[in-house]
């Protein structure tokens, strides 16, 4: 295999609240290879969005990266550990937007309402000009504008010349998200982080956006980290899937294996519990007992053990299992497979 474009190693992000410590991300590792679509899936509070923010070093206080490495492989030279770079420093700012771009969840709130959409994209173009175009004359305003129009066209926005001067609240949800994608792609990044990009969007529009992303990904070969809680979306988008629960990776592997040969009890139970158009109607669904614990009351040991049907008494409640291979591409953190592989608490 090639060297990974992004390697997250034992990442830990903790939130120091007045009420106590929240281990939002607690030892997460995964790789993203060039051109690969990696899906991170999990329920609320699993830490998927915090992981994304940690990669870009935009975790808000009182959150702090307290451990682990995030290695990013630039075009040439050795990989840089993003956690070592100052969050406000120029080195990281040169990576944000230019090398790693973000498609946020709420396209409505993600654009400034008092600046036109085009203006905000032109800003990104000019900001990273020397990165996506190392030589040549300085980018003129007219040139930046026409490039933005082209970008709009390439993400399927009709009447781009007019839409460029629109404000985000004048656009429909679908158009807004397309404009967001145009902005993310403007500096030709090598990694795209899509944080629940279709959650706030209707299903027919979601299909359009997902198609667009797939199409752009095929054309540009951009690697994508796709974060979502929707198992359907993840199955259709990702090649490789990371399943998270309460700040830890439960299981990861190729999409076919995760969906057709899930190893971790959580993944198995989760997949069984979703109603599908293919399941016999009006029958009881197999469920996961209980509910997701409060972030401040995270269980000791394996975070899933209180709800796990296969929990091993005296083991799962005591120590947290380490993430270890369970198949050719699959890894799971579960004592059912590696009785002795624990991480220090």
């Amino acid at each position: 295999m090639t060297t990974p474009l992004l390697r997250v190693e034992d990442l830990r992000v903790h939130f120091f609240l007045d009420e106590g410590l929240v281990r939002a991300v607690d030892g997460v590792s995964f790789d993203v290879h060039p051109g690969q679509v990696v899906g991170i899936v999990g329920e609320s509070g699993c830490g998927k969005s915090v992981t994304m923010k940690a990669i870009l070093q935009i975790v808000e206080p009182p959150g702090r990266i307290v451990g682990g490495r995030i290695l990013f492989q630039p075009d040439s030279g050795a990989a840089v550990d993003l956690t070592r770079l100052s969050p406000k420093g120029p080195a990281l700012r040169a990576i944000r937007g230019a090398e790693i771009a973000l498609i946020p969840q709420e396209p409505m709130a993600a654009f400034s309402p008092v600046h036109s959409v085009g203006e905000q994209i032109i800003e990104a173009l000019k900001l990273h000009e020397r990165q996506w175009r190392p030589s040549g004359p300085r980018l003129s305003r007219a040139e930046a504008r026409s490039m933005t129009v082209d970008l709009f066209r390439s993400v399927g926005i009709s009447m781009p010349e007019e839409r460029i001067d629109a404000y985000s609240w004048q656009l429909s949800g679908g158009l807004r998200q397309r404009a967001m994608i145009a902005m993310a792609l403007s500096c030709r990044p090598r990694l795209l982080i899509a944080d629940e990009p279709t959650t706030a969007i209707d299903v027919t529009t979601q299909a359009q956006i997902l198609n667009l992303l797939r199409d752009l990904q095929r054309r540009h070969g951009t690697a994508i980290v796709f974060i979502t809680h929707d198992l359907g979306v993840i199955a259709q988008m990702a090649r490789y899937v990371v399943v998270m629960y309460l700040g830890r990776v439960m299981e990861q592997g190729a999409v076919e294996e995760i969906f057709h040969a899930p190893k971790h009890p959580y993944t198995r139970a989760l997949l069984r519990s979703i109603p599908s158009v293919n399941v016999a109607p009006r029958t009881l669904l197999p469920t996961i007992a209980g509910s997701i614990p409060h972030p401040l009351g995270r269980p000791r040991g394996c975070p899933f053990h209180p709800r796990c049907p296969d929990a091993i008494p005296g083991v799962c409640a005591e120590r947290a299992p380490a993430l270890r291979p369970v198949g050719s591409t699959q890894l799971a953190s579960c004592f059912l497979y590696h009785r002795d592989e624990a991480v220090e608490p």
Binding site: T287, A289, G290, P293, H294, G297, P306, R307
Partner: protein
């Protein structure tokens, strides 16, 4: 059925689970140390308001030109190492050229200060006739007196006047805000709950009132008060004038709360359950915004106090012989006099402290008011 995991960590679970909103608000408010200390200051001030005479050392109205401009007698708590409060005596001598009394602090002569001493007669809380005062000079011959904050140009005891002024100024703030709340809740409530034409009329009225230049209008209104009104009438009129302009902010706030509350799911749920309108308002809507209204009103009191003080200072508010902080500060209008007797500025410091306390308590309440926001 499934096993239910608690949503809150087990340690504090039981206590938090059964905590009512007021308890949660109290828990949150308690965390603001400054607000808590300020609340204590306000409690002390309002205790003074209840029975100012008890805290006075002398009759605030008693004038004696020979005792003009006596400086502050600094209170000493210890006599040597023995806790026995005392103040130094002051001795006066008339300056032969200026003909003014000049006072000199005489540290060698100590006047002992004692608690619960006998002084001028008054009625405690307006009912119980008594002569007991909290502090006073322990006099043997009845000659020595205590001037904790000095005297003014008419020889009146500044401390006793300040205590009485506190009653007026703190009460005016509270009553004016009470009037505003009544007006604001009533009109804002009608506006927000019923909407339609009533809402339109009230909204325009609020806009009109808010675009009036307040201070000049206040001045004009207070100047229009008949000169021969009694202090009580003037007090009441000033309160009404202050609240007439002050209710609009509260009215807007209440209206806004009603408008958002009307859209709340739990209000709809009550409606669908068949609850009457009265029940929905009293059980569901009012408890939800009550804490916010209390916080907003607390924050509105300081403005009222400052406004009263300013009006009285200009001679258009509370008029002598009634005493308020503004009236006391009138004595400090002449800079030459202030240079001679800087203690005349002390009431200003009290104004600042009380306003500060109200602001801090109000901010603490506002932050604590919505325990479900997170």
């Amino acid at each position: 059925m499934s096993v239910l995991a608690p949503a809150v960590p087990l340690t504090a679970e039981e206590r938090v689970s059964v905590a009512s909103s007021w308890r949660l608000i109290w828990w949150r408010f308690r965390k603001h140390r400054l607000a808590l200390a300020s609340a204590l200051v306000l409690i002390v001030l309002y205790v003074v308001v209840l029975c100012p005479d008890f805290f006075s050392t002398q009759d605030p109205e008693a004038t004696d030109a020979r005792l003009a401009f006596i400086p502050i007698q600094r209170l000493h708590v210890f006599d040597g190492f023995r806790p026995s409060p005392w103040v130094p005596d002051v001795a006066g001598r008339r300056n032969p050229t200026t003909l003014r009394m000049e006072w000199r602090v005489d540290e060698s002569r100590r006047i002992p200060v004692r608690f619960f001493v006998t002084g001028y007669p008054y009625r405690l809380l307006g009912v119980v006739p008594t002569r007991i005062h909290l502090v006073g000079a322990a006099t043997r011959d009845g000659r020595e007196r205590l001037y904790l904050l000095g005297t003014d140009r008419l020889g009146r005891d500044q401390w006793s006047r300040l205590v009485h002024g506190t009653r007026t100024s703190m009460t005016i703030g509270l009553t004016a805000v009470t009037f505003s709340v009544v007006l604001g809740v009533l009109l804002g409530g009608i506006s927000g709950y019923y909407g339609g034409p009533a809402d339109a009329v009230i909204q325009r009225l609020i806009e009109l009132l808010q675009s009036l230049p307040t201070i000049p209008i206040w001045l004009a209104l207070t100047a229009a008060l008949p000169r021969d009104w009694s202090p009580q009438q003037v007090f009441f009129a000033i309160t009404v004038i202050l609240s007439l302009v002050g209710w609009t902010t509260l009215g807007r706030e209440v209206r806004g709360r009603f408008l958002t509350l009307r859209e709340e799911d739990f209000v709809l749920a009550a409606e669908l359950a068949g609850a009457s309108q009265g029940r929905i308002i009293v059980r569901h809507m009012v408890p939800t915004f009550l804490s916010h209204i209390i916080a907003t009103s607390t924050l509105a009191i300081p403005a009222m106090i400052i406004n009263e003080t300013s009006l009285s200072f200009l001679g258009l508010g509370i008029r002598p012989p009634a005493i308020s902080w503004g009236v006391l500060l009138q004595e400090a209008q002449n800079i030459q006099t202030v240079a001679l007797a800087p203690w005349l500025l002390v009431p200003g410091a009290v104004v600042i402290v009380s306003v500060l306390a109200f602001n801090l308590v109000g901010d603490g309440l506002r932050d604590a008011a919505d325990p479900y926001s997170q």
